[in-house]
Amino acid sequence: MKPGSKSFFRLTKPVVFLVCLLPLVILTASAFSVAGLGLGANPIEALLHEFGRWGLKFLLLSLAITPLRRWTGWNWLIRFRRMLGLFAFFYILLHFVVYAVLDQGLDIAVIIEDVLKRPYITLGMAALLMLVPLAVTSTKGMMRRLGKRWQKLHRLVYVIAILGVWHFYWQVKLDTLDATVYALILAGLLGTRVYFARMSRRSG
């Protein structure tokens, strides 16, 4: 079976899909104490943080596709990018749902106050809202309809990723090590794009 062939995708796409669902499966199992799993003393905080982290991880993974493809020449990687991007949106949406429903008890006044008064929540909310048009326009039909504008619109993901990591970094109390790792990976991924753009300009 050749990578990039029809049968290759028919097999790998469902597998990748199920792997991407694993964090949700494990967190759900933990929430119900299945198989000795658990969420610790503060389950809401655990769900909130885990969904947020997974959202960022998938966002970074989707941004890693292009540089990986360039380096390895594995062009078939691009066929997984939409799925990774949509999973990023999915986990970030769950992160927001845990915040709004479980943490704030759907108290709209408190949520609005948070978004307006607490800069790290403002950033996170902005990133989530910007993700919505990207998710909506992720279909093949939309890609065709938007043509060149599609690519322009989807460059928003760079802004979203920066806001997302910034949101993570800003809410940490003191130990910024984890958030710094995310920031460095993002810087690397964005840096390669600048590098590739320069190279192509030079050669072109």
Binding site: S33, G40, A46, E50, Q104
Partner: protein, 321 residues
């Protein structure tokens, strides 16, 4: 001794500790346990409780200062700790403090007092009546737990050291020993951890030196062998593993105040009206109530306003947060 237990478990229901630790280790190696996950805790309130463990303390008396709120489980209290000396994750101290040996232990007393010196732990604690004090601990991170401490009023220790008239403040230091406290190998706070109280706060009958929990010796991750508990202040004031008590005329600077002065003040009184710069302090998440429980309103001075508000008359609590 009568200690309220949140739920009773028959021994056969309790997973043997070695089994459960092995299971965790396996899952961790398989990458299945994510940072927030810990064994045996359902979203529907405190389903399983692993404790209590440790040496039983004798002759504990009940106290009129205890709250009658439902106490948190042993597992909640011993697996959700802010104790950066053993790591910055909430569950790090319960894992990294296992091998910590809190004996022998001594406390150096110095500064403006007539009886300075180095006191053995046993000399400080033995011969004193141990009291059970059930207090709600309100963390600056907007969560709270109800904890059945065992300890002695700080005032009785302070009196023993005979502070002089220049002793306006009491400064405490935590042990600084990166070999025994692995979290101190990273410089996120400026070690050793330091905290301070005014002499009036130190002499207040609510202020406790805790040496136990749930009728047992204090677990390492909760600040063994002795820690401060000041129930009307945010949790970070309640310094753990105390090795030095210093009486001073000058106001000390506490570690969190030094690290981020606009977020953590010296007084750190629980105050629902003064927000942390990054989150509201108006409400708190009660730990152990499950995912569908709502937050509770935070009370001024954590509910001890009647007893302590007079300590702060004339002080602007917005500026002196």
């Amino acid at each position: 001794m009568l200690i309220k237990r949140p739920d009773s478990i028959i021994p056969s229901e309790i997973t043997d500790e070695s089994v459960y630790l092995n299971r965790r280790e396996l899952l961790k190696r398989a990458g299945l346990v994510t940072a927030g996950a810990l064994a045996g805790h359902s979203v529907f309130a405190s389903a399983s409780d692993q404790g209590p463990t440790g040496r039983v303390l004798e002759g504990i008396q009940k106290s009129q200062y205890s709250t009658d709120e439902q106490v948190n489980s042993w597992t909640d209290i011993t697996t959700y700790n802010n104790y950066y000396e053993f790591g910055t994750g909430k569950e790090d101290p319960s894992r990294n403090a296992v091998d910590f040996e809190p004996r022998p232990w001594s406390v150096t007393v110095n500064g403006e007092c007539d009886r300075p010196g180095t006191y053995d732990y046993e000399d400080l604690v033995s011969g004193r009546v141990l009291e059970e004090r059930i207090y709600r601990l309100r963390c600056v991170e907007a969560w709270s737990m109800v904890i059945p401490w065992v300890g002695i009023p700080l005032s009785s220790l302070v009196k023993q050291f005979e502070p002089n008239s220049k002793a306006k403040f009491v400064r405490f230091k935590t042990l600084h020993d990166p070999k025994r406290m692995p979290g101190q190998r990273r410089r996120n706070l400026d070690w050793p951890y330091e905290e301070g109280l005014t002499i009036e706060e130190a002499m207040h009958p609510l202020t406790l030196i805790a040496v136990g929990l749930y009728g047992r010796e204090l677990p390492n991750q909760n600040g063994a062998p002795m820690r401060l508990v000041v129930p009307w202040k945010y949790g970070f004031k309640s310094i753990k593993a105390i090795v030095e008590i210093n009486f001073t005329e000058k106001r000390p600077v506490s570690s969190w105040e030094q690290a981020i002065p606009n977020e953590y003040g010296f007084y750190a009184n629980v105050n629902p009206e003064v927000s942390h710069p990054r989150w509201s302090q108006a409400r708190e998440r009660p730990i152990g109530a499950g995912v569908f429980a709502s937050k509770k309103p935070t009370l001024m001075f954590n509910g001890y306003a009647d007893q302590v508000a007079s300590l702060y008359t004339g002080l602007d609590l917005r500026k002196n947060f």
